[in-house]
Symmetry: C2
Subunit: 591 residues, 2 copies
């Protein structure tokens, strides 16, 4: 029997009117390990974001603009209504529940995978419904469910991290003091990996480990599967007076905490954590202090990250040379190019992993912003049209995220117009100079403006923060024209933050164009009028000159591109062989 | 004895720790009649915005960036500390009060001139202080206080207003119904003038009348001094079933209202109104529905406003011709130019008044954003440097606001760079195309960006809404990079809204440059990606080509300027004499 039907029978049996299945683990992670991919298992939709709501006779899936095209395809023929988030007249999940749940109805979910703030908000707006927060029905349906992830922890040395655990925990405790808190629960994986200077491989392409942390003025408790810890790490933890507990003991442990002033970010804990501590303690709801500490990279991290980008640029340039110079002769397809790019990255020193599933999307596949080639979808490349490649690497010296769109043959005028417009967008945002205090919502128009002038748009943000050997999507910085509270990516831009700059044009069934550079926020000067900031582009790879209509660029834009390409050549050529060098020379020539 | 000392004695006598004197009347007006200019009387600071707080031994004056330079001068030598709003480390009024008032202290003010929302917020944050809301000490100090304003009402005919009172009140009642309100108090003067299609002259350069309105499903009560109403208006009010009361009866009348659901904008009523109705009624705090109805101009209004701009352009162009062509020969000064401009406006059909005190500011005076020439400050013009003229008119067919900065002689390269940069800013914002939903904070960078790139800034918004024969500053639309809640000018931009585009560069003791056009928000097209909007510039007057460094403009900017100047010439030349025409031909030539 169909999985969703089975679940609906369980709902009917338990008199549950709506059951929420978010894309979530117990740590409010963006990407989740296979064990938690319940929504994907039930719907077949493989995107990284989406929320399924099942009623006794219907099913609805919400997903954002990045996945509208993909979800439409993957839900085809299934009894699931696609709710395209962000489009007019599509209710939000909250609006939908408020409309559909009547007094006395029961809403159920597994509280451990439910965002606390979402639920607290909802409860306020729906005071007359019953809530069942411990409804974990999935084990009844999912027979061959994967195990919880397992990987060994490894230490990120201080010459990579720039700060020791002791320095970081000192800063964290100072923030707790300021917030008048004497305890803190940290469940987000990136924050913990950052704090401890530890990494692992529990989530695909995100080098973190499942753990919880409970921290007070003088104690630091780490809850983690002990089998993930070898002798070296055990010694390191002991030296740093970190008290170890088993992962499974966490909820039990915190439910006994009382009379504390606990700093908690309700948006970053699950509802079960909230329930465990809410009654016996004072809760101080504030953003996790580690979020901003982590986002503002220190000098050592910045220096390292720039090295990582050189390596990444070398890998990408080798690929670009290979693809563009052999497109006429050899047989390539999306998957082979994906493998080759990974091979070039693996050749780089201190490479750990790719930082997300490579998007290697030919022609109309490029219009799906987060397309991932499979054996089924894989197509051969021909000497025409666009190939969009969005990829990144994790190195000990940092995480990268880069997109280039390659012209595989002659392009139409419209294609060149679109590519050149995306380039204009990238340049305009790169060149921004702004007063301290500015946020991404103030600057988004610089990138989106040229594309809007063509009456086109990309249905996603213009850019996101990037972690250091952590998640490739990191809060709280980003570029977006409307604040989306749950994304928390509209913070004030601060020197040391790293944000991607990735506008695009996506034409369904035709092609996708995206150019993505990472930019470091830097100071630009000080005057009587205030402190001015700007960006330094740290991604180093050629932007395909074959796709540009020079006549559409201003003198300033041409100057930017020439300077950028000069830097690309100077930086990368020492690491390339002669053929690659002369190719790069041509592809970074002055225009 | 010094006025402030006198007041401080009264405070000591009454055991009051802090006394607030805002720049306000009983109607939350931006500009106020002489009767209410208490802050100006006490401080000598003549700017249009500012709040004075007096303690038993100190005095503090807050004012915004438009007035920092002016206030510094006008407060010189006085025992008043200037608080430059918007600068880092300057506390807001609220922050200041929270810091200075201790438990048991008394804060006093006249509740009729105190914004209700400000006070309700403050009370929440300072629950342990005493509040004295009826402290009107000014009559004890101000001996020759002006009378309340008096002017006769006149009707704005429907071919000007585009909609009858009956249509407007029908729309208003529909909005009340949607908000589940059965009553509404309107105290803001522009909203009432708009609703009734009536105008007067109670506030300098703002054609409104002091009044209050109480409206229900089926009744409309207008509280106004009956002496302002002649036979014609009396008949008009009667025909429209508007029930008349004396102005002074208002507070007494509403204090007897009970069991109503009253829609009230706490930000737009005074605290005495709040106190009169809060206990016996349900208050629904929402923006006055008239605000948006009024801001989105109807077709008839738009057509009229464009006519008003042609007349205003003719007046300004005559002035510009006169000033620029006779600067070498004749003696002119700031006041004579101000008079001459007013004369040219008065020659235009259906001219009513200037829409605000003309800013005619030569050289360093231009750096004071809201400079007003007086006999004392007046200077002669010489054939060099910049003359900044910011002015506007009220016509039966609409209100205008225009700024041009004229080169009176040869300019330095830096002056030309600054002027050309301001022009680039104006053009960039004019050319914006954007998705429905965008607000001023999204677009502000387009105008501010080129100026920020020079590490300069203007300490004010980039633009504001403009009323129709109403206030020259009209909410809720505007351009600003940070939301300033009390200004309420960060609303979504909607076709039919009119907003100024007026970036500038202000160098203290040197010069000021501002170029200001009004722009109508219009639809730009529709695609798969959404509904796109943009602007149509409706101000028609030459931008001084003598001040432009053409080499700094892009091809697109030159195209914009040439097209704009072509339109200026085509539109205005029929109304000019031969000499003026040939001058305009030259000053609108293709570059």
């Amino acid at each position: 029997m169909d999985k969703i039907k089975k679940l609906q029978q369980i709902l009917t049996l338990n008199q549950i009117d709506a059951y929420i299945i978010p894309t979530a683990d117990e740590h409010n992670s963006e990407y989740i390990s296979a064990y938690y991919k319940i929504r994907e298992y039930l719907t077949g939709f493989t995107g990284s974001a989406g929320t399924l709501i099942i009623t006794q006779n219907k099913a609805f899936l919400w997903t954002d603009g990045r996945y509208h095209i993909q979800a439409t395809k993957q839900l085809e023929g299934k009894p699931i209504t696609l709710m395209k988030q962000g489009l007019p007249n599509v209710p939000s999940i909250e609006e939908f529940l408020i409309e559909h749940l009547k007094k006395g109805n029961t809403l159920a979910f597994n509280g451990k995978t439910m965002d606390a703030s979402f639920l607290l908000n909802l409860k306020e707006k729906l005071p007359n419904i019953n809530i069942k927060a411990d409804a974990d029905f999935i084990h009844e349906i999912w027979e061959e469910r994967p195990e919880l992830p397992f990987s060994f922890l490894f230490k990120l040395e201080e010459f990579y991290a720039g700060k020791s655990f002791k320095e970081k925990v000192f800063e964290l405790r100072a923030e707790l003091l300021t917030a008048k808190a004497d305890a803190h629960i940290l469940s987000t994986l990136e924050d913990q990996a950052w704090l401890y200077n530890l990494r692992a491989d529990d989530i695909p392409h995100t080098p973190v480990f499942l753990a919880f942390t409970f921290i007070t003025d003088n104690e630091c408790h780490l809850f983690i599967q002990s089998k993930k810890i070898d002798k070296i790490i055990e010694k390191y933890l002991k030296e740093n007076e970190i008290i170890l507990h088993e992962y499974t003991e966490f909820y039990q442990y915190i439910s006994q905490v009382n009379d504390k002033h606990i700093l908690l970010d309700f948006k970053k804990i699950n509802y079960a954590i909230y329930l465990a501590v809410a009654e016996k303690n004072q809760l101080i709801c504030k953003q996790n202090p580690t979020l901003l500490l982590k986002a503002i990279k220190n000098k050592c991290e910045i220096e390292n990250i720039k090295h990582a980008h050189v390596k990444d640029g070398v890998a990408f340039t080798k690929l670009m040379y290979h693809v563009k110079s052999s497109i006429q002769d050899s047989t390539m397809n999306e998957l082979s190019v994906t493998s080759l790019l990974q091979k070039f990255r693996e050749q780089q020193e201190s490479f750990i992993d790719i930082s997300f599933d490579t998007i290697c999307a030919y022609k109309e596949h490029g219009a799906m912003m987060h397309y991932k080639a499979t054996e089924d979808s894989n197509v051969s490349l021909e000497p025409n049209d666009f190939l969009l490649i969005d990829s990144g690497g994790h190195y000990l010296d940092g995480t990268t995220d880069i997109t280039r769109t390659l012209a595989l043959g002659a392009l139409t005028d419209t294609q060149k117009l679109h590519f050149t417009t995306v380039l204009k967008s990238v340049i305009a945002l790169s060149e921004a100079v702004f007063l301290k205090g500015v946020k991404g919502i103030n600057l988004d128009i610089l990138a989106r403006g040229p594309i809007w002038k063509l009456l086109l748009d990309y249905k996603c943000g213009t850019g996101h923060g990037v972690g250091y050997l952590l998640s490739v999507h990191e809060a709280p910085n980003g570029f977006r024209w409307q604040v989306v509270p749950e994304r928390n990516d509209s913070a004030e831009l601060v020197p040391g933050m790293i944000t991607t700059n990735e506008p695009g044009i996506y034409l369904e069934n035709k092609y996708g164009i995206r150019i993505e550079n990472e930019m470091l926020c830097v100071t630009k000067g000080k005057s009587d009028f205030g402190d001015f900031l700007g960006f330094e582009t740290i991604t180093v790879a050629p932007i395909d000159l074959d796709a540009i209509d020079i006549a559409l660029l201003t003198k300033e834009e041409i100057r930017w591109l020439n300077q950028y390409h000069q830097k690309v050549y100077d930086t990368l050529s020492p690491y390339l062989d002669e053929e690659e060098q002369s190719w790069l020379k041509h592809y970074t020539r002055e225009i």
